[in-house]
Amino acid sequence: MPDIWGQAAVATKFLLYLGVLTSAGLILCRQVFSEQLAGLDRFLRAWAVFFALLAAAMSFLGFAVRGAVLMDDASGMTDLAILALLWETPPGDALLLRLLGLGALLTGVVLGGRWLWVALLGSFLAIWSFCEIGHVASEDRLWFQSVLFGHLIVAAFWIGVLLPLHKLAGSADTLRVAAVLGHRFGQVASVAVPLLLLAGVVMTWRLVGSLSALLGTAYGLTLLAKIAVVTLLLALAAINKTRIVPALQSGDPKAGPHLARSISLEWVCISVILLATAVFTSILTVPS
């Protein structure tokens, strides 16, 4: 079991992933599905601000927790010499990129309108910050970092559609819009999700390297747990696409509550996936 600072590192990383991917995903969906989501502009921007502020807070806290990890003591969180040392390494570069991205995201979201494109660029920058640090970045290959970037963009897109779709499915007045949004998301996802899975396979192959490492190391087991939940998530998505969204399109009044329940389950799956990812990016060693 990791010590208290290892657990703190996992917790802050989990909330960081949730904050960055949800705020970025909300902006991405707002721009891609601008016609369907125009009526939810204030709702989406408010949640984007909340999750971006969560991400910014976790960026600072996570950086400070690294200091505590290095000193095995809470004093490391405020030790200027230790924090300055960290600042010189990739976590410092990533923190700077992430804060710049989140700053642009927040500015664009607060100003709204055309500024949402600035927010979108900020989202991309914040997501790219994950490609500048960790196991993928240590390979120092741009194509490999780009694979992770594509993986995260699609993940953010998926997460970003959940809040507006849940909101639209919750009211009889907006079920028709929910049907259109669900259908359009399904069309984009049928191309994007296979790319997300392909990127996951490529990263697994590069980082884990062998079947024995996948089955015989903590890193591999955590990755397998993540894959199991991803499979569950894909099953939920398939049910949405083949049953619930067509029922919504045909005007079935029960389809709205069904979709809302399915989205709640998707949130549970996504939380477990992000937690598993936080575990193997924070405290586990890459087998290869």
Binding site: V229, L232, V272, I283
Partner: protein, 114 residues
């Protein structure tokens, strides 16, 4: 299904070494070594650049003290740290450091003086 997944993650966590990313190459004295006299220094050699942030020595499970890391500059692969002689018994060394790639690293090793 979710219960099984949660259990798998828990198992993975409990089997993990606390803070991983420890890529020590060799420690002097070696882990498990039995010596006739207390060495004046301990050596830590890594396969990549490192900046030590904390090294503690515990003697005979009773006395713990932080070792003097001296003046460090940049990231280096080899360290030699002075050791306070405490007489016969088990010496347990626990170290923490920052890898040049920004990964926190840690590790432990022990040796015995007859």
């Amino acid at each position: 299904m979710i219960y099984r997944v949660a259990l798998t993650i828990l198992l993975a966590l409990t089997s993990a070494q606390a803070l991983a990313h420890s890529e020590k190459e060799s420690m002097t004295p070696a882990d498990g070594a039995i010596l006739d006299a207390v060495p004046e220094t301990i050596g830590l050699r890594f396969n990549d650049g490192m900046r030590l942030t904390k090294v503690e020595m515990t003697h005979a499970e009773t006395h713990t003290e932080a070792l003097d890391l001296g003046t460090q500059s940049g990231f280096v692969k080899e360290f030699s740290l002075p050791l306070t002689p405490m007489g016969p018994g088990m010496y347990h060394i626990e170290w923490r450091g920052l890898g040049v790639d920004g990964h926190p690293m840690n590790g432990v090793f022990s040796f015995e003086v007859k």
